[in-house]
């Protein structure tokens, strides 16, 4: 469903991505991990065209992201994205956050959008908070609203960019639980995260990045069992020590 082929990206003379190639098939959950600054977030933002890339090709459902004649808004409407800092719209209520793009982009009626929004809030356990503003919610609640907002668009795939990195430890699980449920329902997911417990539970494959390169791209069992690259071994030994 998502095919990333030989992607390279530069910021000026600095090369942030080097010949990255990987793919996510329908219903697959791929976890992308690696040390900070390794280009994981940049790579995932290339998938829906939030970041431009200079070389290579990314296709989502056969549509090229980088091509000039691609209708990017239309493509993005079908790819859900969840950000590290939630990025809920603070001037809109929780329900308005969920309905804005449904109405403006998908052309749904306000009634249909609200019904969809209410069902999704129920699903992430926040039905009682529809009228509140994002600033009145905890970080974990905000991120669950952000997931609901992305799901409201009926995405064919979901991108998660370090969804739990900005959360207090006690709030991480409430967000991961929602993500685990999604994965079990067969949602196609690409997840940048350091949560190796999550990777072990639901990932099909793990992509390990370092210095802008994809160093290892292996089934979960292989990655955790016997990572081939030294850099992946070092990374795992560091984050799994505790």
């Amino acid at each position: 469903m998502i095919a990333i082929t030989n992607i390279s990206k530069w910021y000026g003379h600095f090369r942030v991505l080097t010949d990255c190639t990987t793919a996510v098939s329908k219903g697959e959950v791929v976890v992308v991990c690696g040390p900070s600054g390794s280009g994981k977030s940049t790579l995932i933002k290339c998938v829906n065209g939030l970041e431009a890339f200079q070389q290579g090709e990314i296709t989502v459902n056969g549509v090229s992201v980088g091509a000039k004649d691609t209708d990017l808004p239309k493509l993005r409407a079908h790819i859900g994205m969840v950000f590290q800092n939630f990025e809920l719209f603070p001037h809109l209520s929780v329900m308005e956050n969920l309905t804005l793009a449904q109405i403006k982009v998908l052309g749904r009626t306000p009634e249909a959008a609200i019904a969809k929004g209410a069902a999704l809030l129920e699903r992430v356990g926040l039905a009682a908070h529809a009228a509140k503003f994002p600033g009145q919610l905890s970080g974990g609640q905000q991120q669950r609203v952000a997931i609901a907002r992305a799901l409201a668009m009926d995405p064919i795939a979901m991108l998660f960019d370090e969804p739990t990195s900005a959360l207090d430890p006690e709030m991480i699980n409430e967000v991961l639980d929602v993500m685990v449920d999604l994965a079990k329902e067969g949602m196609t997911m690409m997840v940048v995260t350091h949560e190796m417990g999550f990777a072990r539970r639901v990932a099909h494959r793990v992509v390990f990045m370092d210095k802008g390169e994809i160093v290892e791209d292996a089934p979960k069992e292989d990655f955790f069992g016997k990572p081939r690259s030294e850099r992946a071994q070092l990374f795992l030994s560091k984050i799994l020590q505790h």
Partner: protein, 227 residues
């Protein structure tokens, strides 16, 4: 000195008419200036360089010329310019009052542009990114997400600028327009009561501007809490 403040009472209806024009011009210039200024700000922040340069040029030009000169320029020179463009026999008559509306909208837009530009830049890029990720286009992202927040953040500064504008409007009296100051000047000269009139006008300006400033400060505090 022999002061006669009764003159003010007698001239009050006339002065009120002038004050009404002052308010009207301020309101139109502030509204038009914010709209045009916001468009200029979006142009200045555009990644399309020629557009950004043209907007920056306009803003810097307006901000570097004294307001009085801009007022004269629009009043005296624009009709002549229009004549040479259209090839009409006589310069088109715009009229001082209409000229003042156009001048102030154009001039204030440059200042409101810089305020809105700062406001737009104060909204984290991630907000726009989240909008784009949902499939919204540029105008939807700006109109639904970035501008409402920018406007809200900048509201106290926009209002403060509008209070300055309210005072600057008095310059149109030099075009013989009957704004508040213009009305006072006419009464003062007709009745030779300069001191009384100018004192009265100053007091009215002070009371209005001081209380408006206090209200803006109050508003600022309120916004700070909600955020």
């Amino acid at each position: 000195m022999d002061l006669d403040f009764e003159i003010i009472g007698r001239a009050l209806p006339y002065l009120a008419g002038g004050l009404q024009y002052t308010f009207q011009l301020t309101l139109v210039a502030a509204t038009g200036g914010v709209i045009f200024g916001t468009l200029l700000a979006l142009a200045r922040l555009s990644s399309f360089k020629p557009l950004a340069l043209a907007a920056a040029g306009y803003v810097n030009l307006m901000r570097s010329i004294p307001l009085l000169l801009v007022i004269f320029w629009f009043y005296f020179l624009v009709p002549v310019l229009l004549q040479s463009i259209t090839g009409a026999e006589r310069p088109p008559q715009i009229g001082a009052e209409r000229s003042a509306y156009i001048t102030f909208v154009m001039f204030e837009a440059a200042f409101f542009c810089e305020i809105m530009r700062a406001g737009i830049q104060s909204i984290a890029r991630g907000q726009a990114g989240a909008g784009y990720a949902l499939g919204l286009n540029y105008w939807q992202v700006m109109w639904q997400i970035v501008l409402p927040q920018a406007f809200r953040n900048m509201l106290p500064i926009l209002l403060t600028q509008s209070i300055i504008l309210f005072q600057d409007v008095s310059l149109v009296s030099l075009l013989n327009v009957t704004d508040f100051v213009g009305a006072a000047v006419k009464v003062a000269q007709r009745d030779s009561r300069v001191v009384e009139m100018y004192l009265f006008v100053a007091v009215v300006y002070f009371v209005l501007c001081f209380s408006l400033s206090a209200a803006v400060k109050q508003l600022q505090r309120k916004i700070a809490i909600v955020r």
